[in-house]
C-alpha cells in the first residue's frame, strides 16, 4: 500500500539555525500518527513544510502519490491536506458559520465537491458546527468565543475542507479532561470515516490513547518512530523528552 | 553617452558621498521600521520639516544649519515620542490591522507637507554656510564641500547611533525589545517606554538629516516624497535593523544612482531605488547583511 504522506529527507533552516534535518516520515492511509517532541523541536515547522506554508530547502514531500514541491499552501489543501494552527487563526470579521464557508467554497467546491445551493452550504456549516457543539454560536464572531471554543473552531474549519489528511497541531492545549476526551472522540470519528490524522500534542495521555504509531522529534531530528508503548520506553526518548 | 574613466571615478565618489547622506536619512527608518516594525512613511516629512526649521534659524539667526539641527533635536525627539504614544494607543494596543497605522502615518506625511506649503509656499529654499560653494579638487575628482561636510557628519551620526545601540543600556534595550518584549518586561523594563524612546530618537535624526538635505540641495515641501522609496529600499537592502547594513546599502544605492545620473540622465534616479527595492524583496528579503 503506497503511503498517503511520504516525507523524504526533509530539511529546513532559518539562516544559520537548522530547524529540521533529514526528516523521513511515512504515513499510511487511515493511520493515526502521534507526533511529539519538546518545545522548539521543529514540530510546527514540519507541519508548515508539509502544508506549504514554509518552503523546505532539502528533501521532498509526497502526498497521495504526487510530489508537492512547488505547490502553494492552498493547492495542497485542495489536494487533501488540512491543518490547524497552534495558535488559532480564525477569520475575525466573519461569523463562525462564515468561517466554515471558506473551506467549503474554496476547497470542496474547487475540487468539484457536492455543493449545489446556498441552503446546502448553510446546512453543511451548521452540521459541522453541531459536531463540535458550536452551532448555538453560528452567527457570532470569533471574538465572542472562549479559548476552548476557538480551538474547536480551528479544528472544524480544517474538517470542513474534507481532507484526506488532517494535521491537528496542539488542538487540545488548555482544555479540561472532558474537553480533551471530546476532541479525541471527534478525531477518532473522523478517522473512522477514513481521514488520516496526525496528532501533535503535549498531553501524553491523549497521544498514547489515540496513536497507532508514535513519532518523536527532538532538535529538528526524528529520534523514534514506532509502536507508542515501545517508543516511550526508548532511552533516548526518555532522556530527551520525558526527562527521566 | 561619453564614457571616460574620470567621469566614472567622479560618479563613484559622488555616489559614496551622497550614500553617506542617504544613510543618515535612512537611519531613522532603520530604527522605526527595521527595529520597531513601525511603518513610518511620514519620516521624509519630518526630514523636510527639519530642513525648514533649520532654514528659519539660519535665516533669522545666521546659525550654521548643522548646529541649528543639533539644537532642535530634543524638540524633534519629543515630537517623535508623542507621535509614537498616539500610534501605540490607537493602533498597536488595539491590535488593529496595519492598514490604519499606514493611513495614520500617511495622513501625518500629508499634513506636514501641506502645512509647509501653506506656510512657506512652493519656492525652493536654501541655507547659507561657509562650506556651501567651495569645492576641493583632488586631481580629476571633485569634492563639493556642501556634500562632503554632511557626508562626514552623517558618518559621525551613524557611528554615534551604532555605539548607542550596542554599548548603552537604552540602546541594548531597544535592540532587545525588537526581539523579545516579554523578556524585557521580566527585567522590569517597560517595553513601551523603550519603543517610545527609540521612535523619538528616530525622529530626532530626521532633524539632522533635514539639515544635511538643505545643505546639499534647495528644498521645497514635496521633495520628501522622492525619498520614501529610497529610504525603505535602503533599509530593506541593509537587512532591516542593521545600521552598518544601512550604511553599506546606502552607499550602494548612492553609487548606482550617481552612475545612472551621469551616464543616462538625472531624471531616471527615482527608478533606481525602486528597482533596488523590488529586486531585494524578490530575491533576498533578508537584505545584504541580513539579520
Amino acid at each position: 500500500m503506497t503511503a498517503l504522506l511520504d516525507v523524504r529527507n526533509l530539511g529546513k533552516r532559518f539562516g544559520g539555525f537548522v530547524a529540521l534535518e533529514n526528516i523521513a516520515l511515512s504515513v499510511q492511509p487511515g493511520e493515526r500518527v502521534g507526533l511529539i517532541g519538546p518545545n522548539g523541536s521543529g514540530k510546527s515547522t514540519l507541519v508548515n513544510c508539509i502544508c506549504g506554508t514554509l518552503r523546505n530547502e532539502a528533501g521532498s514531500v509526497h502526498f497521495d502519490g504526487r510530489a508537492l514541491d512547488g505547490f502553494t499552501a492552498h493547492q495542497r489543501t485542495r489536494r487533501g491536506v488540512a491543518r490547524t494552527f497552534q495558535l488559532p487563526r480564525p477569520f475575525a470579521s466573519l461569523t463562525l458559520a462564515e468561517n466554515l464557508r471558506i473551506p467549503l467554497l474554496y476547497t470542496v467546491a474547487a475540487r468539484g465537491g457536492v455543493l449545489h445551493t446556498a441552503d446546502h452550504i448553510d446546512e453543511r456549516c451548521l452540521a459541522l458546527l453541531r459536531e463540535v457543539g458550536l452551532d448555538s454560536k453560528a452567527h457570532r464572531l470569533p471574538r465572542d468565543l472562549t479559548q476552548v471554543e476557538m480551538r474547536k473552531l480551528e479544528l472544524v474549519r480544517a474538517m470542513a475542507a474534507e481532507p484526506k489528511l488532517l494535521i491537528a497541531d496542539e488542538s487540545m492545549a488548555g482544555l479540561t479532561h472532558s474537553e480533551v476526551e471530546e476532541i479525541l472522540n471527534l478525531l477518532k470519528r473522523l478517522n473512522e470515516q477514513g481521514v488520516t490524522v496526525i496528532l501533535i500534542e503535549h498531553i501524553m495521555r491523549a497521544v498514547m490513547s489515540f496513536s497507532q504509531r508514535l513519532v518523536v522529534l527532538v532538535s529538528g531530528r526524528k529520534i523514534a518512530d514506532g509502536e507508542p508503548n515501545a517508543v516511550v520506553r526508548e532511552p533516548e526518548v526518555e532522556r530527551a523528552y520525558l526527562g527521566q | 553617452m561619453i564614457f571616460s574613466f574620470d567621469l566614472l571615478i567622479d560618479a563613484i565618489v559622488s555616489g559614496i558621498l551622497i550614500g553617506a547622506f542617504y544613510a543618515a536619512v535612512t537611519a531613522g527608518i532603520t530604527l522605526s521600521f527595521g527595529i520597531l516594525d513601525v511603518v513610518n512613511i511620514a519620516h521624509p516629512g519630518f526630514i523636510i520639516l527639519g530642513s525648514y526649521v533649520v532654514y528659519i534659524i539660519n535665516l533669522k539667526l545666521g546659525i550654521d544649519p548643522i548646529v541649528a539641527a543639533i539644537a532642535v533635536m530634543p524638540a524633534f525627539y519629543v515630537l517623535g515620542a508623542a507621535i509614537y504614544q498616539v500610534y501605540y494607543v490607537s493602533f498597536e494596543k488595539r491590535g488593529q490591522d496595519s492598514m490604519r497605522g499606514l493611513a495614520f502615518f500617511f495622513g501625518i506625511l500629508f499634513i506636514t507637507e501641506v502645512s509647509l506649503v501653506l506656510y512657506f509656499g512652493v519656492d525652493y529654499r536654501y541655507v547659507e554656510a561657509p562650506y556651501i560653494g567651495p569645492t576641493w579638487h583632488f586631481g580629476f575628482v571633485d569634492l563639493p564641500l556642501r556634500i562632503l561636510v554632511p557626508c562626514l557628519v552623517s558618518l559621525l551620526l551613524i557611528a554615534g547611533l551604532q555605539l548607542t545601540l550596542t554599548r548603552t543600556f537604552i540602546g541594548r534595550a531597544i535592540m532587545a525589545v525588537a526581539q523579545d518584549e516579554l523578556a524585557l518586561r521580566l527585567m522590569a523594563v517597560d517595553p513601551i517606554r523603550i519603543k517610545r524612546i527609540a521612535f523619538g530618537i528616530s525622529i530626532a535624526t530626521a532633524a539632522l538629516a533635514g539639515a544635511f538635505l538643505i545643505i546639499i540641495q534647495p528644498v521645497e515641501p514635496s521633495v520628501g516624497r522622492e525619498y520614501i522609496g529610497r529610504v525603505f529600499a535602503i533599509c530593506v537592502l541593509g537587512g532591516m535593523g542593521s545600521l552598518p547594513g544601512t550604511l553599506v546599502a546606502a552607499m550602494l544605492v548612492g553609487i548606482v544612482e550617481s552612475l545612472t545620473s551621469t551616464f543616462y540622465g538625472p531624471s531616471w534616479a527615482p527608478a533606481v531605488s525602486f528597482s533596488f527595492l523590488l529586486l531585494t524583496l524578490a530575491v533576498r528579503p533578508a537584505g545584504l547583511l541580513g539579520r
Binding site: 506549504g52 506554508t53 502553494t72 499552501a73 492552498h74 493547492q75 489543501t77 491543518r83 494552527f85 487563526r89 480564525p90 477569520f91 475575525a92 470579521s93 466573519l94 462564515e98 464557508r101 471558506i102 473551506p103 467554497l105 474554496y106 467546491a109 474547487a110 445551493t117 446556498a118 446546502h120 448553510d122 475542507a161 | 511603518v39 512613511i41 488595539r94 490591522d97 496595519s98 492598514m99 490604519r100 499606514l102 493611513a103 495614520f104 500617511f106 495622513g107 501625518i108 500629508f110 507637507e113 501641506v114 501653506l118 516624497r225 520614501i228 522609496g229 525603505f232 529600499a233 531624471s267 531616471w268 527615482p270 527608478a271 525602486f274 527595492l277 523590488l278 524583496l281 524578490a282 528579503p285
Partner: protein, 331 residues
C-alpha cells in the same frame, strides 16, 4: 436585492440626480458634481483592494494618471469618443494594476504599500520624460463647446462619470456578495489561514489590484477633456492619493456604502472649501480628518452608524447568502 435590480435602481437614482442638476440651470453644479462622482469611483476602487483585502495602495494617483494619459496618447493619434477612451484607459490601468500586483503582492502588506508609493513616483518620472504626451510641458485637449443632445459638454462628461460611479458601486456590491468577497475578507483577516483553507490568495489579490486599477484608470480617462490642459502635476497630484484613502476610511471600509458616503461628503466639502478657502487649506482639512477618523473612528461613518443603530446592518462583506451555482465574479 439582486444585483441587476440594484443596478436599475441606481440608474434611476442617477437619472434623478442628473435631472436635478439640470434644472438648477448652472453648469457649475455639473463641474463640481463631476469631481465628486470621480471620487466615488476612486474611493470605491481603492476600497476593493484596501478595505476588502486590507492592502493599502498609496499610488492611486498613478492609476488615475494612466487613464488620463492614455486618453492623451490616443488623442494625439486620433481623437476618440470618450467611452472608447474610458474602456482603453481601464484596460491600460488594469494591466498596470496586474503587473504591479505581480511584482509586489508576494510581499507583506506594508511593503506593498511602500512599493505603490514608490511606483507612483516612477510612473510620474516616466510620463514627465515622455514627449509624445507632452512631458512636463503638459498636453492640450480641445474640448468641444457643446454636444447634442446634452447641450454643454460638461453635462456629457458628468453623465459619463455618473455611469462610471454607478458601475463601480455595482461592481463593489457584486464582489461583496460573491465568493470573491469572502475570499477578499479572509485575505484581510488572516492570509496564512486563508491559504490553509484553500483560498488562492495571490490570484485573488491580483484580481483585486486589476479591478481596482482598471476602475481608477476609467475615472481618469475623461479627465483631460474635463480640464482641457493636462500637466503631470495635476494628474499625479497627491490629493488623489490622499482622497482615495481618506474617503473610504472616513466613510467606512467594509462595504460599498462607505466609499460612497465618504466621497460624497468629503468631495462636496472640498468643492465648497476650494471656492471659499484655498485649496491647500482644504487638503489640510482632509489630512486632519483622515488622521482623526483613523484614530477615533476606525470603522468610519458606517461603523459609527452600526454602533449606535445596531439593527440596521449595512451590507458588511459576506453577510448575505452565497449561491454556489450563481454566476460568480471569479472561478
Amino acid at each position: 436585492m439582486r444585483t441587476h435590480i440594484f443596478f436599475i435602481v441606481s440608474l434611476i437614482i442617477g437619472a434623478c440626480v442628473y435631472g436635478l442638476a439640470a434644472t438648477l440651470g448652472n453648469d457649475y453644479y455639473f463641474f463640481a458634481g463631476y469631481v465628486v462622482l470621480q471620487y466615488v469611483v476612486l474611493a470605491t476602487a481603492w476600497n476593493i483592494l484596501g478595505g476588502y483585502c486590507g492592502y493599502v495602495n498609496f499610488g492611486s494617483a498613478a492609476f488615475f494618471a494612466i487613464g488620463a494619459y492614455s486618453t492623451v496618447a490616443l488623442y494625439r493619434f486620433h481623437p476618440m469618443p470618450i467611452p472608447v477612451d474610458v474602456a482603453l484607459g481601464g484596460v491600460a490601468s488594469g494591466i498596470v494594476g496586474l503587473g504591479t500586483g505581480y511584482l509586489t503582492l508576494r510581499m507583506r502588506g506594508a511593503f506593498f504599500a511602500i512599493a505603490t508609493l514608490a511606483l507612483a513616483v516612477v510612473f510620474e518620472t516616466l510620463v514627465v520624460n515622455w514627449d509624445y504626451v507632452g512631458g512636463s510641458r503638459g498636453a492640450y485637449i480641445v474640448r468641444p463647446e457643446t454636444i447634442a443632445p446634452f447641450g454643454s459638454y460638461i453635462k456629457y462628461l458628468f453623465l459619463i462619470m455618473l455611469v462610471l460611479a454607478i458601475g463601480s458601486i455595482t461592481v463593489a456590491r457584486l464582489i461583496e456578495r460573491s465568493r470573491l468577497g469572502y475570499g477578499f475578507a479572509t485575505i484581510r483577516d488572516d492570509e496564512l489561514a486563508a491559504e490553509a483553507s484553500g483560498v488562492p490568495t495571490l490570484r485573488l489579490k491580483l484580481v483585486a489590484t486589476t479591478i481596482s486599477g482598471a476602475l481608477m484608470g476609467m475615472a481618469g480617462a475623461p479627465f483631460p477633456y474635463y480640464i482641457g490642459y493636462l500637466q503631470p502635476s495635476s494628474a499625479f497630484g497627491l490629493d488623489y492619493a490622499v482622497n482615495s484613502i481618506a474617503m473610504p476610511l472616513i466613510g467606512g471600509t467594509t462595504s460599498w456604502v462607505g466609499p460612497l458616503i465618504g466621497a460624497i461628503l468629503l468631495g462636496s466639502l472640498q468643492q465648497i472649501a476650494t471656492v471659499t478657502i484655498s485649496s491647500a487649506v482644504n487638503l489640510l482639512i482632509v489630512g486632519f480628518l483622515l488622521v482623526g477618523f483613523v484614530i477615533v473612528a476606525p470603522n468610519g461613518i458606517t461603523g459609527l452608524v452600526q454602533k449606535y443603530i445596531p439593527h440596521r446592518p449595512l451590507g458588511q462583506v459576506g453577510r448575505r447568502r452565497v449561491k454556489a451555482d450563481a454566476p460568480e465574479a471569479t472561478p
